[in-house]
Symmetry: C2
């Protein structure tokens, strides 16, 4: 009996040989086709539909009306196992988006081209207050003779300790193993890469000759949906590129809870660990290829992720995160060597995960607080990071409180029929043409549209509401929607881009269900923010600054976000969109020890509010399931606008 | 074509399947049959003879008179590769000895049954001056609640840091990974094993409940020929057993030089690393089985070995050790985790290698100096460790000098036709019966004789010399030797035990070549000692104490050793035989941090004399190629004895 078979995915013509019994969702992932999978492969969301054109799959759960008139058979990828060579067709609607590591532009605005490091230190961290993660030292020593038979390691460390000037330097077995050859190849001139993470400096690697100019680091934002990595020159602090990719874990669940269930109830912990590592490694490969550097010259990596993502990256069991009283294994993560978790930079390269606060407020939020200097601010600031989870921090230099709400993947393009990440071709803005009583759109990069990103969804809902396309519950008004509204499978949908404007062969639509998804997401965010503000005995009007972070790309229309009640109705000049603050904070920590220390201080100082034990949260949530809100007196400016239009 | 074949070794009936092309020497090793191999598999010593009885080997180098009348074919194991199923007969003379891990008795005299640790510390190291390698702490903590959501690691470390009282405690990824389950299984009672090797304590493992009573360590002497391991209860300091085994590297060369050649010129470094680790792991398995303990409860291991052996254990390239100016990679070895080198104790268990002094004076000698308290002595002391290498230390509390000579494996039973280690059945003593003008022997344990150990060889040569069986050049006097002397293959040999006294079906003999081997070995030792004494501007008469160490077992007749000129002619009360001081020092270091610090101090303070650059050494060596010595005025007491007999 054959033990492996070929799966061909049409129209991509991508082929892969997999063992018998391989899940088609996994197989698709392996060839870089990312199928929608809101339920995490449980067979309940129905998003990962494929059409079997030829050959053998074993179906665990049949679909209704499976047999098509043209001979094809509809199956759910997550419920299908390979039992022979098979050819499947992938409907465009089943694909979250065409994956691969995408180049991200405009993510490095603040420091990317700066000559100095964020904390004011010079190249190689000389003036940093705290030591940078890794430093390079060039050493010259006299070679051994019969009169001076000092061993290689002792000879080397004596010179190095003279340069670091901080007493004893450690050196692990791997570095010692390559020492004899390295020193002789370089004729007793060598460059040491030294980790400054622990109290005692440690040699990570030794190169022959002077290699100080090749010193690279990686800042990584590990999101539940998207992983973004930035390659940085540690000497100049310059960015050498930023790339994003789907988190390959996405085939096993779209949110942290379904991932935890997969890890803990279905034995998938190792699979998830390997998936996220594979995601990071693909980004490393793409970034190194683009910049023309050797991945072994990357010796430091800083990761910012939510608590579940960081646990899975490190191979720590996330199981207690979802069970009351919601306890992570660790908030202040141990620094590990890249080889310990399989990251494809230098094997001894250090991986520092930014510490978190609790099970549902992780290192990505600490990183955001580091980036925004919130903990140094005199003004009362509300920080909101809107991804698959919505985490919020309230405070100033004297106190910090945080909370978390489950938002769903809508703002990252998940769980939405035509949702996609904020990359080229995503519809990010719509404009209502009053004269023609119709709608225009703009895409990122001006490309032909491929889908709708988070900021596009917010823009669409705001525009719909303002122009009477939908009512305050999100239901379509048929008369105003006109020719763009249609019914499909018994449910209404609104065409944003017609088939002939796209390259997809299908209309790009927003469905009634999509709109309800966005309303649920925005209600969760707003309710969490209000519960936290009220719990602290404050009113939202006392908040002097609102910083909004998230994977919305370069653009978020704050006015529209207020209009739909995602953000509170405050004067617009109090808002600032800070982009991917998780990644930006990680870069700060990578480049400057001062920020690393700040991250540790923040993670220890912040108070966590567990919303589930505040009965008021559910009431806030229900009240927010309306556009903008059931209590319109909280949205006086929006109310005024809705009357004028 | 079949890619693996079965090799059967007669008369043992041991079988193994090996890939095509496997060397028969390696195959024999794998089934625990240790063939003699003085040349390290180069095909020059002719010791590893086998007789092919059936089937296929490919012979790289034919033996003279290979075809036997009975149809068998003589081959050298090292020059034969498996090319089909094959049955070979192993002549008794080709086997160094019947291997497997042997139980060693009487090796733990001093401290084995003591109630306190060597440095006077109580159980668990409470009163030790320096901290012991690992300590166990029992912790009780309150579990998490919705009001106290501290993460597992932070909760655990807070309680632990309260107990250790030395500030921050580190915890590596492996230990963190098992923490969540461990704490909950033990209902928030747990036991932490903490390493005290580095400046910051580190948690190695966490067990549920109270496991303090299961805390074990391992002291290991890694000799070129023999590896000896002792299992120690870290709570009581009691020995739970000592076992010895051939170093499985022996198939790749009998001395350090041939091992280095194999590692560096023939790509065998990894093979040698795996072989010595396999040797240690077999001993660990035997010791744990015997003591009824789980190997994962062993969390500390101290190794003492010469510089080459320690390099190979750690996977460090030994190549520069044999090339002028003879530089090791390292003398102060990094402490490693067991998993880094494949040692089968707890994967995070720490392996501490006792630091060495130079390429040819290693950690085994530092260990011997630690054990003998030489560096605290007022008296001028000469310490001699006689193994395959002969290392010597001269000094007192004020200064220490050392040197090394290549001795050959004779004193450990190697390179001698009937040589064997000092275990049960080894002839260790002979008595000359003046009346019958004949010889009697005694064996270790009183068993039927199996071979001759190092102390037996010294005893035989001394007895022969005193009773005129051999002349001062080691040549047999035919008239005195009588019926026991015979000629074989054109060379004389003397029967020590007749066939019917043994279980071997063959006479146990000592050959002319054996005697010359012993003379070469003893000359190398004596010449080294004299060169060192003279270089320091001293005379041998000024040495107040001579401490002799080595794998001679429980017995060494000092008088006979002086008689043959192995040891200098000093009053007998200045000598002391200290046994395996390398192992005994390792146990001290295992049990007491004070001794670990001493070992580091000694390794840094000792001066190394490179004998090869002292022209006088060769002259001393040539002068010592005589029994006892060409210069009889240096051996006045021996001269007197030889005249009286």
């Amino acid at each position: 009996m054959k033990s492996s078979f070929e799966v061909t995915f049409l129209p991509y013509e991508r082929r892969i040989k997999v063992p018998t019994g391989t899940n088609l969702l996994r197989a698709a992932n392996l060839v870089g086709i990312y199928l929608k999978s809101v339920c995490g492969g449980a067979g309940t969301c129905g998003k990962c539909e494929l059409i079997v054109r030829k050959g053998g799959v074993k179906t665990l759960q049949a679909m209704p009306d499976a047999d098509l008139p043209d001979g094809g058979k509809r199956v759910l990828a997550c419920q299908s196992e390979v039992s022979g060579d098979v050819v499947v067709e992938v409907p465009r609607r089943s694909v979250t988006e065409e994956g691969e590591e995408e180049k991200i532009l405009g993510n490095s605005l603040e420091f990317g081209s700066a000559e100095v490091c964020p904390c004011g230190a010079g190249p190689n961290g000389e003036a940093a207050i705290g030591p940078v993660l890794t430093q390079k030292f060039h050493l010259e020593m006299s070679g051994p003779t019969l009169e001076d038979t000092t061993a290689d390691r002792e000879r080397f460390l004596k010179v190095l300790e003279g340069q670091t000037g901080e007493g004893e330097v450690r050196m692990g077995l791997d570095a010692v193993r390559s020492l004899a050859m390295g020193l002789r190849q370089g004729n007793w001139k060598a460059t040491a890469t030294v980790s400054r993470v622990n109290s005692m400096p440690e040699v990570l690697k030794v190169d022959p000759g002077d290699t100080r100019e090749k010193h690279y680091g990686l800042a990584v934002d590990i999101g539940t949906t998207t992983v973004v990595a930035e390659l940085v020159d540690m000497n100049t602090c310059q960015s050498l590129g930023t790339r994003a990719s789907h988190n390959l874990q996405i085939g096993y669940g779209e949110d942290v809870i379904s991932r935890i269930v997969f890890a803990c109830n279905r034995g998938g912990e190792q699979t998830l660990q390997e998936s996220v590592v594979e995601t990071v490694n693909k980004l490393v490969h793409a970034l190194c290829t683009e910049a023309g550097i050797d991945r072994r010259d990357i010796t430091a990596m800083v990761c910012a992720g939510n608590t579940t993502m960081t646990h899975l990256l490190l191979g720590l069991p996330p199981c207690n995160i979802r069970m009351e009283p919601y306890i992570p294994v660790v908030n202040q993560y141990p620094t590990v060597a890249a080889k310990e978790i399989g990251i494809a930079i230098h094997p001894n390269g250090i991986v520092f995960c930014i510490p978190g606060i609790s099970s549902y407020v992780g290192g990505d939020i600490t990183s955001g607080v580091v980036y925004t200097d919130l903990a140094e601010s005199d003004e009362l600031t509300l920080f909101m990071d809107l991804g698959t989870n919505g985490e919020m921090v309230l405070g100033n230099r004297d106190w910090l409180t945080c909370c978390s709400a489950s938002v769903g993947p809508a703002f990252e393009g998940g769980g939405i029929r035509w949702g996609m990440r904020a990359t080229a071709g995503a519809i990010e803005k719509v404009i209502w043409d009053q004269g023609r009583n119709d709608l225009r759109y703009e895409t990122i990069g001006g490309n032909r549209p491929k889908g709708i990103c988070g900021s596009g969804l917010i823009d669409i809902l705001g525009t719909f509401l303002l122009n009477g396309v939908i009512d305050q519950q999100g239901r379509f008004f048929p008369d105003k929607a006109g020719r763009r509204l249609r019914e499909r499978d018994g449910s209404k949908e609104y065409i944003i881009a017609f088939k002939d404007e796209t390259d997809l062969g299908e209309d790009i639509t927003i469905t009634q269900e999509d709109i309800l998804n966005v309303i649920r997401s925005k209600a969760a965010v707003y309710a969490a923010a209000m519960t936290m503000v009220h719990t602290m005995g404050l009113s939202i009007q006392e908040v002097a600054r609102v910083l909004v972070a998230g994977g919305f790309g370069t653009y978020l229309d704050i006015e529209k976000a207020v209009l739909i009640g995602l953000l509170p109705d405050l004067p617009l000049d109090r808002f600032r969109f800070v982009g991917n603050s998780s990644l930006k904070g990680a870069r700060r920590v990578l480049l400057c020890g001062n920020y690393r220390n700040k991250a540790l201080t923040i993670s220890r100082a912040m108070t966590y509010l567990e919303l589930s034990v505040y009965p008021g949260y559910m009431d806030e949530y229900m009240a927010a399931m309306f556009l903008p809100h059931t209590n319109m007196s909280d949205f006086p400016n929006v109310a005024k606008k809705m009357q004028t239009v």
